[in-house]
Amino acid sequence: MASTSTLWQPSCSIEMLKSRAELYAQVRAFFCARRVIEVETPLLSVSTATDPQLESVGASLKTGFGLEGKPYFLNTSPEFPMKRLLAAESGAIYQICKTFRNGESSRRHNPEFSMLEWYRPGFSLHQLMVEMTELISAVLEPVDITKMSYQSAFKHYLDIDPFDVDIDSLAKLARSLTDYQGPEMTRDDYLNLLLCVCIEPHLGIDDGDMLSPVFLYDYPPSQASLANVYQNDDGIEVAQRFELYIRGLELANGYFELTDVAEHGRRFDEDNHARKELGLPTIPIDQNFLAALESGLPICSGVALGLDRLLMVKENTNAIADVLAFPIDRA
């Protein structure tokens, strides 16, 4: 065991710092050429995401001299303030910022990570997937677009229809394929388990030496988050959401954005209800965000991309610590 600590040193190489700087310069050039404006929004907010599976990092903030600290949250994504800018008619915008997710630490997760989020007024979900492919082609290597619906992925890899399978068969399959023996879970939990363990590792595996990214799209409505829900050509209700995978790694999550203010309220209430059931604190609804929706969010698509993970793909590593100067154990 080393007696002298080396934890002061960066965990990535100096070459990696240069590679990240080059990647950011390429991303900025990409959006500059397309006249998408770079914006900044606060990392600290009085509200945060309501998703019961996301835990925000809290902060106590004094907003004036001699005042008591008030509870604030570090953002889990810049989604709400960026949508406020869209409602204020900003037009197409992007942001590169830090985001924070409490308790998320693993080989591929760091509780503080870098995100690229952008919004395109007037874009459909599929147009945004095309632009995402163009970005990947600009910063990594020229790639072809491969799209697979959520339903066809489950049919292809597991021979089940995720929208039709009954909960008992689903639970039985998930338990047998993953040796999960814990308590009964929800339908979405079993689907997520199967997706993570049995499908994700096959998605976006290199075709020879070439990258072959895969978009999964059209998720179950129960996993819509803030994506719009519509009836597809097969008459099935799906959430207009996609995720991008490269080498089995999930890189991005995009939506054709929900604009209906009443539906937002309903989904937030549902999240807070689920939070109570799980014994988690409820989240105060962001009133500024609701007011912005009330004023009118333009029809748009938006996506959040993990920049550390993009750098992991660029540099061909599967550990996030390899691309961070100081991961959380050195922070």
């Binding site: 939990d189 388990l193 997706l195 993570c196």
Partner: protein, 190 residues
Amino acid sequence: MANYSSSEFRSGLKVMLDGDPCIMLENESVKPGKGQAFNRVKLRNLSTGRVWERTFKSSESLEAADVMEYDMEYLYTDGEFWHFMMTDGSFEQHGADEKAVGDCIKWLKEQDQYTVTLYNGAPLSVTPPNFVELEVTETDPGLKGDTAQGGTKPATFSSGATINVPLFINIGEVLRVDTRTGEYVSRAKS
């Protein structure tokens, strides 16, 4: 014993699962873009040696197993138990049965040190050091001058193990053996 929550899972952790003590070999957190996080854990059952992967959801926890490893000196066998003695000065003795000794039986030499895993105070398994030095008790006569060729022949040791050795080895020689692979390393330095 204490409980470990899934956030504390890591390789080397000893836990109870289905009534058996197990050691975690790998732990991988998986999480979809939105939704429940899971832990994919590779475990070895310390009683049966079986290795398998199991999944836990993020709120699950496991009971810690009362499993400790000690350096002990092998003393003797009475045919039913193999007796080991603590090397910490306590001279405390533990008898391991055939199941606990397992494959290690063929590497046992009196007065050598082994790692004995105790579960609830009783020997659960015995692990030999990576290298042991044993005396050859049985092999064909050595072929003089045949030191460079790759030929091998079987040789049996005082402990009962039989491995392949170079042709020049004779009965009575002490050899260094890698217990992980069961391969000859060299003649022991005297």
